[in-house]
Structure formats: structure tokens, C-alpha cells
Amino acid sequence: MISGRDIRLSRVVVRLAAVLYAVAAAGATSVAAQPAAQTADWGLPQLMQDLAQVKAASAQFTERKTVHMLSAPLVTSGTLNYIAPDRMQKITVSPKLERFVLDGDQVTIAGGPDHQVHTFSLADYPQIGGLVEGIRATLAGDLAALDRFYVVQLSGDPSNWQLLLQPKDNDLTRFVKWIRIVGSQDRILDVETEDTDGDHSDMSIVEDAGDAR
């Protein structure tokens, strides 16, 4: 019974993780546009360090989900907000208003099809807590902590980089094959998620100008 809920929430978290990475990456690319990005020894440590500089970021997103049981893809759009160190919000505007908020340890989902507000604490779900801690570690530039949860691969160069995350944890690999974050110079282009069942989600992100750093 409890695990039924855990499984459901694990999936929520996979999405949440992707979203957080998207926001984190969005902030990071803004920093990456700074001269530091031009150095010759650019790599994962440098990218992490840059991510840690982000204090706030906001962006518009369009997400396209391919679900095997549907004959047409599902398209949603809205806004993303991140405030360091641990507040994160995803507001879906179209086709329907829905709010997904992470504030510290608390996750709130509002406006879903059951029209109820669900709040739960990450501490109650260690696999989720581990994920979010991983993300916080990323934002703090702590690569070692990120390594605990994912096999991290960085490819490309500052003008066109790809961060491939493959979950290490068995609980997570049941739901998600990989998450790929694509960035180019000062633009985050895309967050892709491949589910274990072959379904695919592709979120393109357009960062708002003039974010606080």
C-alpha cells in the first residue's frame, strides 16, 4: 500500500528532477555566457561551479510528451521559476492551469484533475529526498553528491553542451532511462526524458531576459 504511493511519487520526482535540472541549467547557461566559460579547461567541474552561481532564474517552457497509448502527442506550456537555494515552481498554463511547487522540503501539487491540493514532505520519501538532495548538490556545485545518484556524462563545448544523466538507483531506473539536458552558450535549449517504457518527453526552454544573479 505504502509502496503504491511511493511508486507514484517516484514518478513525480523523476519529472520534478528533470524540471529542476532544466531550471538549474537555464541559470547556469546564463553564467556560462560570462568570460569564465571561454577557458580551455572547461568541463564538468567548471559547469557545476557555474551552476552554483545562480541565485534566481525564470523561463518559458513548452513540453511535448509522446505517450505510446495516445495517437497524438500531448503538448503543455507554461513558466519555470527557480530561487536559490531550494525554491522551485512549475506553472502549466496550457491546456490547463496546474501548479507544481518545491519549497525546501515541501512539494505541493495544485490544480490537477482531482482539483485538490496535495502537499507532502520529501523527508517521507527518501528516494525522492535523495534526488532532490542530488539536485541541490548540483546547484551548490557539489559534483560528488550528484555522482551518488547519477552517472553523469558531459559532452560538447561551452557553445553546445549536453549533460546526460543516467540514474544509478534501482528504484529510479524502473521509471527513467535517462535525462538529457542540452545547452548552447547562454541558452538552455532542451530537457529530454526517456522513460523506461519508451515514452518520451521533450521540454524546450526559453529563458527570460534580465534574471537576478
Binding site: 500500500m1 503504491g4 511511493d6 505517450v67 496546474e98 507544481f100 484533475p113
Partner: protein
Amino acid sequence: MPARRLALGVWLLAVVICVGVIARTHLRTDMTAFLPRSASAAQQVLTEQVSNGAASHLILLGIEGVPPQILVAVSKSMAARLRPDAAFVDVSNGDDASFAGVRDFVWRNRYVLSAGTTADRFTVAGLHAALANDLELLGSDVGMLIKQTLPNDPTGELLTLLNQLAAAKGPRSRDGAWLSAGGSRALLLVHTRAPGFDIDAQQYALARIGDAFDGARAAVPGAKAARLLETGPGVFAVRTRDTTKRDATRLSLLATAAAASLLAFAYRSPRVLLLGLLPVASGALAAVAAVSLGFGFVHGITLGFGVTLIGESVDYAIYLFTQTARGDPAGTTLVRIWPTLRLGALTSIVGFSAMLFSGFVGFAQLGLFSIVGLIAAAAVTRFALPHLMPRGFFAAGAGVLARPLLAVIKCRRRLRPFIALIALIGAVALALHRGGFWDKDLSHLSPIPAADQAIDRTLRHDLGVPDLRYFAVFRTADEQQALAESEALAVTLQTLVVQRRLGGFDVPSQILPSDRTQRVRRMVLPDADILRTRFNDARVDLPFRPGTFDPFFRDVAAAKTAPLLTRASLPPALALQLDSMLVHHGDGWDVIAPLRDVADPGGVAAAIAAAQLPGVAFVDLDRESDRLLHTFQNEATLLASIGSLAILVLLFVGLKSPARVIVVAAPLAASVIVTAALLTMDGGALSIFMVVGFLLIVAVGSNYCLFFERRDHDVATQSRSVASIVLANLCTVSAYGLMSLSGIPVLHDIGITVAIGTFLTLFFAAVVTTRDVAAQPAADRVGHRAQSPREERDRLPLP
């Protein structure tokens, strides 16, 4: 010697009959059997729950002392070792296997279990609404949640059911094993096949758990330092039995050794030493047989306590043996002391007989036990013992023991004001005592050490096993009625949940709906063709691929023809949960529905009453147990008072003089007062066990007083009489004194009370009650009657 043969023949026959009765005796240990006949249904149900209910099968385990990763590995290894074991019904540690059974059951039977299975849901409009909702869910952030189950369950019954069943907060899991909040403990939940009161089976289960832990610790690298914590009703039962057994064995061996050395010193005859046990042993046999015949069963507590209550019959033999003068036949001694002995035994019998009228079955059994036991013991002392004593026996060493007390007796007149002062101080101390005299905390009566209670609280908290306090209970004639009425109750309770006056609830019908409801739910499921047609109409404007929902059609068709669910269909974990809420009880079925997070007990009680569900009562477990304890204490006090009055009346009848009654009763009253004052000296309260102790002080001490009150015709006889009392008292004080060393409340409380009280009685009675030796040889009775009332009054210690 025909008298001798007759007496021994009758005794042997009686022993044989008693053994025959006892062999057929039904021994009960469940607490319901000890409860008042007048106990409310709620109290009986809840007490039975404690001893027999599903919760009593529960063992909570914690592993600690090593890093979290190793805890997880040990937890998994332990669970794998325990699961195949027939001693366990269910082993959960947070991994998938922990829930597989329940999840599979709920999944397969979702249409008969779900309240969502209504006719409306399966119309074209209902199906369209469900599918539109599904589409929305797929696009939302929780879309992943339903993807796997959607083809089978487009109407979302599983989610509804899981939400309903997962309402209670569970522990947190990490890598598939439950860990405590700080990650310092791995947690497991084990249901034993045997109930908690089956102590042998529980002990076996604990041994298996210990083996599994040792095996896991050896198999997992780095787990050497891991420690295992265990708690649960069965664990407590086993530990209590172990410590009680250990304490009782150790202390009774010590007590026997102490008493035996005293008696050996006094008697200098092993045969007489053993003969001294004959009255108490025969008494116990007769008492068990009588209780068995009178009540149809003997309670375990009656057995343990009863022997303590008739312990004074050991003294009977001591009086007989020690007061036999050198060269006198025992028969002669007996004829001389019999009136005193008889009155002493009658005093105790009358004192204990008040218990016969108790509403508590346990008290009533103890009453009958002690009455029959003491009568039998006195009869054996009177009719059988003298025939078995070695010819020419006398207690050679007893005289030495009497010397200190004889010295006290010599200067007793000077000591009397002192005794009066002590009694006065005791009375004043009691009068000034702040707070209640009664220990109201049930946990102080519990034999479970505080450290174990703390572990229990910790693990329960870690595992999120709620400490349930509030329940809705009712009783019906049959099982189906119970299920149907709990469906009605669920409607009322759900309203309270929606109003946020109640956090949640469990009713048996959530796990096993009534047959009627199951039939209705099966009936509203459309036939295959109709369903397919309606479904295709419903999804016409939605982007679902054709064929996606074929599993749904299969599942509905299967559900429509599946047999009705019964208790036998349930997986073990759910069967246990059902049994804890739906209890077959004699001629009826009890439903016990736990209520969680009751914000406003009064309001919830009123709402349940207002719903006018027949016979449904709101129960506050804490209040019920307080009330029970209160009744218990009131009754104990009442019975003790009635017993004391009855003893006074008996003494009047036996002694025929108010003055003599007073000199016999005064030391008893004084020693009970002073003992109570000493026990509550540090502001403490009296436990129920201490009241039993007071009763024993009076029972045992009254014999001392009566012997001191006898007028002996020469100094030698008086010395032997004093020696016998001293010997009896030394045995009692050493036995009960050793008992007071036990950490188990019942042993400690009775031990300390009786040891202090009887010693005080000995001293007080020696000073207050002892009479002068008669000037010339005279028969006792004549001597008493010759006493003038004025002389009697001169001896009174108090105005």
C-alpha cells in the same frame, strides 16, 4: 490405630479426587476471564483485542549500530530468511515483497472492493468523463503515475483504493528497506502465526528471529556491530514470563533455602521439615479443584496468587511442631492449640471470603481458592499431620530463636506508649499525605521494564504504527450484518473525515465488503458487448489508440464472474487486519473500527450518536482502562473493608469479649497503618498489589495475635508458643523480604508490604497482646473466663 488409618485414608482419597479434577481443569490466561462480569461490551472487546487481537500477532524489529547501507542489507537478508518460516504470516521490511500480496489482491479485486463501482460510472457519459480525466492526468505532472495501470483501469479504481488503504502514514524506505527518520535504524514488521498470548509459540518465533538476525549479520560484510531491538505484545509476554520465572525461581529458591535453614535449625529433622509442607500443598490441591468445579476454569493469575494467599498454612505446621513439648505426643499439643489455630484460620477465611462477592471473576476465584485452601490446610494439620509426626519429636532449636522476643515481652509495659506513638505518627503521616493514595498509572503495574517500554514507543513511532486510542465499536448477530453495518458506519465516518474532524478510519468492509455489496458491484458491471459499445462511444473524440483498453474489457468480464470474496480469499496481512476489526465473539460478531487523529473526541462521539447507527458506541480506550482500574481499586478497598469488619465480628464471636478483640485487633490495625505510612513515606502511592499485601498482613498476623493472647499455664509453654510465632514470622519475613527484591511490580509490592507488615505485627502484638502467665495450671477457656473485664482494660495500649 483406626483413627490414624481413617484420617490418612480420607486424606489420600481427597488428594486423588483433587488431582483427578485438576487433570481436567481448563486453565485460562486471557484477561477477559479476569474482568468483572459487569464490564461493558467495549471493555471486554478491547481487552480481548489486547490479548487475542491481530495486534497481538505483531512483532516490531529494529536493527541499529551500523551505517545505513549495511542496515538495509541486513534488513533484506533477515526478511529473506524469515519469509519462508511457517512461524510467520507476514514479514514486511519495506521492499516490494512486503506489499506484493496486498497490492496484487487489491488489483485483482478492484471492482468489488471499490466504492467507485456504480452504474453511473459505466454509462457512456461516465466512461467519457473517466477517459477525459485520464487524458488530463497523462499530460500533467502526475501523468507517469497512471501510465502503467491505465490500459487495465481507465476508471482509476486502483488509485481510489490505494488512497483509501494507504491513509496511515508509513515509515520511510531507502533502497527498498524501511529506515527510521535519521537513518540510524532499519525497521521490520513481523506478524507471527501464533497470537501474543501463546507464549511458547512466541518464544519460538523470537528464537527464529534471533537466528535470522545472526545469520544476516554473519552474511553481510561489516554487520558485526549490528544490534537487534524487538518489541510487541508477544515479546513482552515472553520477557515477562522469563523474568517472572527467573525472579520467581531464583527468589523462591532463596526463600526456600532461608526458610528451610531456619526450620532445620529449629526442628533438626528433615522428615518434619517436609511434613511442614503437607498442609499448604494439600490446601493448594483442594483449592484448584474447587475453583475448577465452581467456575469451570482456573485463571493463571488465581493459581499464582492463590498459593501466596494460603501461604499462612505453612505456619500451621510450625505452630504444631514448635509448640510440642519434649516427650509430649503431637496429638496433645494439637488439642491444646486447636481452638486458637482454628480461630486464626477462620479469621483469614472470613477476611478472604469477601472476595467471593467481587464482580471481578479473578477476585471471586481468589476468594474461593483461599477459603477452600485454608480449610483443607487446617484440616490436614488437625487430622493428618499428628499421625505422621515422628514419635517423641520436639523442636530442639526453637528456644534460641524466641529469646530476643521474650526479652521484649519482659519489658512490654514500658514499650506500650512507644508503640502507641509509632501508630499515631503513622496515622498522622497518612492523614497528611498529599495527592491520591492510589497509583493511577497503569504502566506502574506493568511488569515490563521502563527501558523496554521506551524501545516500544521508539519503534512504534519509527514505523508509524499508531497508538490507537479511539474506536467505534458495535456488535451484531452475524458476520454479513457486521459488514453491512460497517459499510453504513463508513459513510458517517467519511463525512467526519471530509469535515476534518477525523483524520481517518478503518472498517472491516474496506477489506471485505458485505456479500450484498459485492453482488451489487458485480451486477452494475456491464456485459462484455455492452461495455465495448459504450466504451467506443465514449472515446470517439479522444486520442487514445484503439486496442489500448483491451485489458480493461478482459478484467471487467473476469470481475463479473469471479466468486464472492470471503475471509479466506484475503492475503495474510489483510486477513490479520480484518480479524483485528471483525471478531467472532461467543454468539456474536464485534466490529472494532479504529479512528485516527481524532481532533475533537466529544464532537466525533456526538456525530456518531447522532447518526443513529444501531448499537454503535464511541470508545476512548484510555478512559475505559482508567475506569476499569478505578472500579478495580474501589472494589479492592470495599472488599478489604468488608473483610476487616467480618474479621472483627468473628473475633467477637470467638473471643466473647470486646476487650480481648481490641488487644487482638489493635496490633493488626497499627501495623497496617504504619506499613501504609512507610510505603507512602516519599509521597508515593499505593498499588493494588499492596492492598492484597494488607489483607495478607491481617491474615497472617491475626494468628500471631491470637497466640499471644492465649493465657499459657507455665513459662515453658509460653516460650514454646513465642518460639513458634517467631519461627513462623522469620520464615514469612525472609520469604516475602526476598520477594521484594524482584523488579516485577506484583512480586515486589506484595513482598515488601507483607515483610514489613508481619514483622511489625509480631513486635506490636508481642508488646500489646501478650498476657501474663497464669498463676497456676488451668484450662485455657476457664482461665479466660476468669479474667475480669477491668484487668483486660488495663492492658489496652490506647485509651
